[in-house]
Symmetry: C2
Subunit: 220 residues, 2 copies
DNA sequence: TACTATTTTTAGATTAGTCTAAAAATAACC
DNA sequence: GGTTATTTTTAGACTAATCTAAAAATAGTA
């Protein structure tokens, strides 16, 4: 059996591998888990022993197929629970991550299968992140960050690449949510800030810090 | 913060106190948690240190008000999750205990408050056990075990005092569920086995081992 | 009351997971 | 290419939770 702690390491390694497309470094994992590098090295030995990771001293780590299965399953559970919390219990999208962080460790395949079914087999979570299927496959979606669009182009919000509380709350204030439609009105070359028309209604100016974290599907 | 393990000890002590109306013994707790008496003594010291239990060497333990609050809250969460699993995810009553045993440790007051609301503020769980309110108060219900009824008396099933898998599956086979109505047809004095008429339809013979674990509300 | 059986506690070890400080390996730079 | 700087690993210690075996306390009984 994999412990709560081991699971968190596997998930961290998965996320780093995914984001950087490189083996995860000891320091990178330590940062992600908020622990010391020494603790990470300790745990890497144990995970390698269990054949959940490929680990060579000083060379960084990747997941074995078994480790990958566990990690993607955690992400699947995390995102399904987030859908439950938002769609059924009416939590807001910025409130659910921490709770899902605990719920994802509940070990019951039948529970997840039934939950998935109960929620209508959702393919994306409340933040627009894809929910891997039971085999760990992720759905690929055509998307760009909003800062890649040029004037007059339109897009619909399908996700966010930042999950920080303050960011999501800021979007709430602007009434920007998944499904919101944007038309680029103008772009300031100096600071890359963008004036957009939201849902054909209101014009809002967004900083580059914001637009680069908004994932949109281009509209023709 | 109270750990997963500490919570399980508090719940075990609560259950023993409730069942025996006496301080819980070291061996009693060890049996309940499936651990050694030495481990229990260790943990009792720690829980006493945290002022969650009243503990005097060799004298057994009871819960302090704070310990009691934690224990009843665990039972509240456990039973609410069981309702969710049965009513929303269509699990059967004999499948939910183990999953709820994990879910009960999820720490989020808003989650439980919303879950309670979502389920329609149920007052009893799928096994007929009362769900304590947020203050830890249990609803008292007028009930007797079926073996206390005499011939010609009628009762409706409101709970079971045995939650073992095999017992619940046996009841499933006989199509006995909460709400089932019984009329006592006859009682065999030799072994206290009872012939009942279920829902005015079928006659079944139940052993004393079964009838003593069926909790009914008498009907006039 | 004295002896025996049972229960409970202590003593001492073990394992998972963590830490700090120091040593070793690798990467960066002049 | 040699010297720093950074990263990673090792060494050694700590805590929570567990165990077995032995000692101490309590309960049961003749
Ligand atoms: Mn999340
Ligand atoms: Mn998410
Ligand atoms: Mn239960
Ligand atoms: Mn129950």
């Amino acid at each position: 059996m994999t412990s709560f702690t081991e699971e968190n390491y596997l998930k961290a390694i998965f996320k780093i591998n995914e984001k950087t497309s490189k083996p995860a470094s000891t320091n990178g994992i330590a940062l992600q888990i908020s622990t010391s590098a020494a603790s990470v090295t300790d745990m890497l030995k144990r995970l390698a022993e269990k054949e959940l990771i490929n680990y060579e001293k000083y060379k960084g780590v990747t997941l074995t197929p078994v480790g990958n299965k566990i990690a993607t399953n955690l992400i699947r559970k995390h995102r399904l629970w987030e859908v439950f919390l938002v769609n059924k219990l009416n939590f807001s999208w910025e409130q659910v991550h921490d709770i899902a962080e605990d719920l994802e460790h509940i070990k019951s395949d039948s529970l997840i299968q039934r939950l998935d079914n109960y929620l209508g087999n959702p393919r994306f979570d409340p933040h627009g992140d894809p929910i891997p299927n039971a085999e760990g496959k992720f759905m690929i979606r055509n998307q760009t960050s909003l800062d890649q669009l040029s004037a007059k182009q339109k897009g619909v919000l399908v996700g966010v690449s930042q999950h920080q509380l303050e960011f999501l709350q800021y979007l709430n204030e602007l009434e920007i949510k998944l499904g919101s439609e944007f038309e680029i009105i103008s772009i300031t070359s100096f600071d890359k800030s963008v004036k957009i028309r939201k849902d054909g209604m209101v014009d809002i100016t967004l900083s580059h810090e914001v637009t680069k974290n908004l994932l949109v599907k281009k509209l023709v």
